[in-house]
Amino acid sequence: MSEILVLVEHTDGDVKKVTLELLTKARELGEPSAVYIGANFEKAKDKLAEYGAAKVYVAEAAELTGYVVAPKAELLAKLVADASPAAVLVAATAEGKEIAGRLAIKTDSGVLTDAVDLKLDGGVFIAEQSIFGGSSIVHSAVTVGTVPTARALTVIVAMRPNATPPAPGAAAAERVDVSVELTDSAKLARIVEKVAVAKGDRPELTEAAIVVSGGRGVGSAEKFSVIEALADQLGAAVGASRAAVDSGWYPHQSQVGQTGKTVSPQLYVACGISGAIQHRAGMQTSKTIIAVNKDAEAPIFELVDYGVVGDLFNVVPQATEEIAKRK
């Protein structure tokens, strides 16, 4: 079985769901080895074992996380040189893609970004990507010349969160400590402070199974409490359209669509969002879509599985109350 490296996304040892998805996918394609960068590995170990990491390369040196992206790419490049894995999987987050891109240059390989699926076909890794806001599906491969290659290079793939249902499959998660001597050019962008905005107990937007979003129709920052109340009843993350974010009603981190996040949850509930193409580009691949909007002509209704034409301030609180009643 060929080795597949999975870069672990975690917050101080709390492993993110997307990593469990990547481990699940890696088990289909070969033998997964997790790569854990940062402190608190012991906290993460059980989860990584449960989801099938045979090995975990652990790099705890503080300098690896003290600079923007580049040190992580250098560490992965060293692991690729030493272990010659068949593929490296990272989450298609902003930082994950940057790491993947820099790693591809260092290893003279190619990078396939925003994959929603990954398969092996005759030894060639084929990534599935959803483009033009979900209206087209393409399959792509890493090539040498113009020929898709089997194992000549380590293939680097950034996979979208929510692309693979995570399934346990226990393995040993044998710890292998690794380190890398960073070059000077990996230490040029120093992180001097990390500033967190309070997000409460809600799930992270790109990882959430359910997303409830508000748009221009919400009308003010205060009234987003209506959206949040429904989200909390559903255990959902809260999203916002660009119009709502530009108006200062909700933070940029929550923006769904072009120039914001791409989400692909099981359920997406759009409240007071007209569904401009820029928004659709970020949510069109959601499995089930619901919209509540006053305007029966709003383009969002072209996408929905279920739509309510009406005032969101009547419909949404009533739905929130009804869910509470049924619990």
């Binding site: 940057e98 970004t113 959803s130 792509s140 113009t146 001097v192 990390k194 879509i289 599985d305 034409v309």
Partner: protein
Amino acid sequence: MKIVVLVKQVPDTAADKRLDPDTLAVDRGAVDGLINEMDEFAIEEALQLVAEHGGEVTVLSMGPEDATDAYKKALQMGADKAVFLTDPALAGSDALATSYALAQVLKTLEFDLLILGSEASDARTSLVPALLAERLGLPQLSFAAKVEVDGSAIKINRLTDYGHDVVEATLPAVVSVVEKINEPRYPSFKGIMAAKKKPVDVLDLAAASIDAPLVGWAGSRTKVVDAVVAPPRAKGTIVTDEGNGGVELVEFLASKKFV
């Protein structure tokens, strides 16, 4: 301070984009092109920094011969000159090959800051800022929501999932900006007229010392092997709220096992 701003001409997001059936690349001839929206924020940031610290702004663009609207818009907004890299051999370049070609040009330009938008609206990979930082050996200051320059020191707020990181570096540096950073100006009539007289340096592969085998279809390490139009979503149920819309919505959620 010398600033280079990288801009890209992209198909209009609102247009019905499709793939060229022969090349499986975006059929750019089929839709109108315009400057990538995020790039306008990069130009604005450069113009504001130059207004504060002095210096000049050069706009760099790469694309097909007729993709001139993007850099022209930058000149109209106030950039001083343009460099346009265009060569048929560049067609088909993926993000990595594109970054190689751009890096070759950037190595010949003197700059303190390279500013670009953090995402192009067509491919949306957000890879190029990191790739250029890697190729040029410069600090990567990407997803900047705020930029402060003090002498040779630069400090940015880098947006993250949890909020932001404050990141410091020494110039020269690569900065990519998000669209919350400023309010791009509209070109004035005077700006539009002045832009026509501004110098544009047009480069091909040879002029930019770009190795042909490293760009285009053959020079790219990735290839689209097939493409299909996604099946349309099944038509949904649309109801009008008669006072019971919220309860009915929950009925639907229950039927799908969400509650």
